[in-house]
Amino acid sequence: MSLISEADQAKLRAAFGEMTSPVRLMFFTQTLDCETCLQTRQILDELPPLSDKISIEEVNLILEGDKAKQYGIDRAPAIALVGGNGHGMVDSRIRFLGTPAGYEFISLIQAVLLVGGRPAGLSPENRARLAAVNVPVTIQVFTTPT
C-alpha cells in the first residue's frame, strides 16, 4: 500500500511532469543502528513510479564510505540530490539528513522540482549576491517533522 494518497500522487505526478531534466536521489543508508533508514527508503520508493525522471541510487554508508565522503555525508539516513545538466549528472549540493516525512517531505519535493529544472525563484539581486560567493559555504537548516 502506498504511503501517499491517490489524490496526492496525482498532484505529484502533475508537478513532476513539468521536470525538464532527470534527478537522482542518492540514498545513504546503513544496515545497523539506523532506525529510520527503512522508512526513508519506503518514502523514496514512492517517487520513481510517479516520474520517469526520478531515480534512486542506494549507497551504503559503511561499505561505500568513499562515496559518502565525496558527498559530505557521515550519517544515515541521508539524501543527496544529483541532477542532469545535459552532459551528465551533477551534484546539486542539496542534502537531507533524516527521514523526509511531514514538512521535510514537502521540502524534498521542492528540491526535486528545483533540480529537475524549475526556476529557483531567487531575485536578480540575490542571484548576484550568490554569484559573488567564492569560498566554500555550508548552510545547515534544522527542522522538525511537524
Binding site: 531567487l122 539581486e125 569560498v135
Partner: protein, 80 residues
C-alpha cells in the same frame, strides 16, 4: 542557494533524529539556520534578508559568536 552557487552546500537536518547535531548547534526552535558554524538565523525571513544574513558568514569569525549585544536600532537620526 546551493543550487545557484557552486560554492554553497546546503543540508536540511531533521533535528529530532540527530540530537547530537541539535545539541552542538543549540537548536531550541525550528527552523534554525547555521552558516559555516558562525552565523545563525532563527525562524523564517524574507528572501533578501535571509540571503544577506546567510552570506554575512563570509565576513564573520569562524568561531561561534556570542549573541550580538546590540539589540535595538541605532538612534543616530541626523534630524530634519
Amino acid at each position: 542557494m546551493a543550487f545557484t552557487s557552486p560554492n554553497i552546500t546546503a543540508y536540511a537536518v531533521e533535528a529530532t533524529e540527530f540530537p547530537d547535531l541539535a545539541r552542538r548547534y543549540q537548536v531550541s526552535g525550528v527552523p534554525k539556520t547555521v552558516v559555516n558554524d558562525s552565523v545563525e538565523i532563527l525562524g523564517a525571513l524574507p528572501q533578501d534578508a535571509y540571503v544577506v544574513q546567510a552570506l554575512s558568514a563570509l565576513s564573520a569569525p569562524s568561531a561561534p559568536s556570542a549573541p550580538s549585544a546590540t539589540s535595538g536600532q541605532p538612534e543616530d537620526q541626523p534630524k530634519g
